[in-house]
Chain length 460, copies 2
């Protein structure tokens, strides 16, 4: 059967010739005189991985503050926030024991927030499940005393790899909570990685309300080793798994969101926020997650200045602390905004890697989304084509009101989870032009939001 | 001044619901069961760089033929073609001599087709120019006896990096012809690379009608070393440059285009071609240029079969030999098409790297371009958004008639020239999903062309 579909599209573009030229200037400045790559080189290679509460996170706070102070903002400050401090300790070690004395080493890493194993490690039978439903069906009689191995892979056919991630990450985040209900003694979770390789990928996990004495250690295993373990279990479900980790959760420590702003010339009380998160996991140097978003955000005000744009509204750059394991920075920031009754008309987050920008997600009402769609044509020369409704991001999410618009940059996502939370999230995986294109794309949208404002709802 | 522009767009989409499902199946098959990455791993890592006339090129011919024979085509054959054989010889060596005895080594590589220097190397004063006009203005009195250093960089502000390349490559291709007119003794050209790094990038050059005795050796220098050389020349234009290379042009040798086809069920005499070039430069393993295009083209028929598509028209996969330094394979192929009066209604080339696909260029009349634009919506779920008029590629170009449509895949181009023709064009720079997305994107367009055909002009 052959249906012929006729679909008519109608869109109205509202912008000026001057916008075309200004956006050209922004891209030119970023590609010839951007600072994002140079900043990221320092952040990644001179500071490195910046887990909340670590010395590196502290260094990153003071260094980014000092860099922001150099670019001619009206105000730069640190916003105190108490953050979790979890430390990985000595490198983890694990093996599969197919028979006593016959072992195969595998690559694991403790999940962020996990407890340690006993000092001598933990050895037990291991049982594979694909999801919590399968765990429930197996029940305590099959689970008790064993390590639970969550092995649901990321779905390859989804084009947006963040959706593949979303379909798997509950195994990592809540795996220990569910497994401990049935008496499991540990959790091993397949790394959230679409590639088959040897790198374990860490990430946050929760114990929720599990009493301290019932908490079980949890680690991620590389995708290659997850495949191996699964195959070995099919051959003999009596094999044992051993792992040792001595990570530890300490008391919360003082840290900071780093904030800079340029005061608007006409509407100083209307705030436009752009940001990323300054903390990262500890295995790599956090170049893509989220050094890229930080340096792009830092470069927005530089690029506005270089392009002779004097914002009418107040532009605020925020480098959030502790997105990875607590989002305390985001909560603190939103709390202060509420206390001060600040009006954040727009907030954009870049936290999806430093790859070629493709567009934006918008958390917006219809009127504002339509206004933004009217600007889409301005982005076409830069191959920015993706303007869709969707979530913005963990750090700006708490700022949502019925009156404002949130947004998240959408870079190309095909390579992202190769690196995400692993030892390969490093500066060499960053392409200079892609990073600079992202900074220019964000800056261009900020320029348009500043110029035209958002469509305000009539007060009832 | 603020102009409000109202622009109305109207497009008509003509396709069926079945097309939506078929294209979904093609992408699913490529992302879960594609063979392009596995093939490229072999071609790059087991065979390697495949310069025309080399043993590796011969290996690649026989290996791709044998792989095509495994996928159930109706016919696989080799099309003989004589190709140039140029050999680099031992590694090149070069330095800048600021004073006698004070030298700084720099990274160069001979350009493809260049003659050697004298066995003991060539040392001379060196003069920097940005273009042929500057060369002409300097004239014989400033050029004679010197090495000409072409140092016009790639333009960073162009979003399509192939346009930046197009703006520079005449320095490399014709540099020796122009410089030798004024008595220059050698040519050093800045590598066609947007990055500043240490890798020299080779590529083809011509001596055109320059008599043999007037031909001068030509090499590319890394961008970092081009910057260094330029700076040193500004400080002292009396410095000398030394380089040594022992490359050599041999007599033409026999090689082959590798061709496979699946005969169409309804219109076997309407041919649809998909291809890439099998030869590559010798410094890397040619993964992006153009191993990627070869393995994607090879996977098109596999993916059609896996997606239960039985082509009505004849689908032909062509792996062209000698694109890099002669395009002899393309010329031979077009010659045979003309001799046999074959009707190639459509020909698509993938030769812009294995990066995330963004769309296609089309060399087409209005009617066919409009038909293709009507399919654009089908590609939206895969973030394929770029459908523009433009050139197709060096290998399919000779097939253009007033009756057919040519096309070139357009992947994201930001990273391409980091690797192009250099030692870093290697398999580790390939992302599996990006490569597979490209194969699916090509296959989807081939499917639509096969199903709907092209709009034929009425015969006058």
């Amino acid at each position: 059967m052959k249906n012929i579909l006729f679909i008519f599209f109608l869109s109205i573009n509202i912008f000026s010739q001057n916008d075309t030229e200004t956006i050209r200037a922004i891209y030119n400045n970023s590609l010839t005189n951007g600072k994002s790559y140079q900043w990221l080189d320092y952040l990644s290679n001179q500071i490195g991985g910046r887990l909340s509460g670590s010395l590196n996170a502290e260094k990153a706070v003071y260094w980014t503050k000092s860099e922001l102070e150099k670019i001619g903002l009206d105000k730069v400050w640190l916003q105190p926030v108490m953050v979790p401090k979890w430390v990985r300790g000595t490198p983890e070690f694990a093996y599969i024991e197919s028979k006593p004395g016959k072992t195969t080493n595998v690559n694991i890493c403790a999940l962020g927030g996990s407890i340690a194993t006993p000092a001598s490690g933990l050895k037990a039978n291991i049982i594979e499940v694909k999801d919590f439903q399968e765990l429930e069906q197996l029940g305590r009689e099959n689970i008790e005393g064993k390590i639970v191995f969550y092995n649901r892979p990321m779905e390859k056919t989804l084009i947006d790899t963040f959706r593949s991630y979303g379909g798997c990450v509950n195994q990592r985040y809540e795996g220990a909570v569910h497994a401990s209900k049935y008496g499991a003694v540990g959790v091993i979770v397949r790394s959230m990685n679409l590639l088959l390789d040897d790198l374990p990928h860490t990430g946050s996990m929760t114990y929720d309300n599990v009493p301290v004495q019932d908490r079980i250690p949890s680690a991620a295993i590389s995708t290659n080793d997850a495949e191996l373990l699964s195959t070995m279990l099919k051959l003999d479900n009596n094999i044992k798994f051993y792992f040792k980790q001595n990570c530890k959760q300490f008391k919360d420590v003082l840290s900071y969101n780093v904030i800079g702003e340029l005061t608007g010339s006409e509407y100083p009380n209307e705030h436009i926020l752009v940001g990323g998160h300054l903390d990262s996991w500890d295995l790599g140097d956090g170049s893509h997650d989220d050094g890229a978003g930080c340096v792009q955000s830092m470069d927005v005000i530089r690029l506005l200045k270089l392009s002779d744009i004097k914002p009418k509204r107040t532009i605020r750059v925020v480098l959030f602390m502790n997105e990875e394991n607590g989002t305390r920075g985001a909560m603190k920031y939103a709390q202060v905004v509420a206390e001060k009754k600040e009006n954040h008309i727009f907030a954009l987050e870049s936290d999806a890697g430093g790859f070629s920008p493709r567009g934006f997600y918008f958390d917006s009402d219809d009127k504002n989304f339509n206004q933004i769609l009217g600007w889409k044509e301005l982005f076409k020369p830069y191959l920015i084509h993706f303007f869709e409704r969707g979530g913005s991001g963990a750090d700006v999410g708490p700022l949502k009101t019925s009156m404002n618009v949130l947004s998240g940059l959408k870079p190309d996502s095909q390579r992202y989870f190769d690196h995400h939370h692993s030892a390969s999230d490093t500066f060499d995986a960053i392409n200079k032009r892609e990073l600079e294109m992202g900074a220019a794309t964000i800056t261009s949208l900020i320029y348009l939001i500043d110029k035209y404002g958002i469509v305000k709802k009539p007060k009832l």
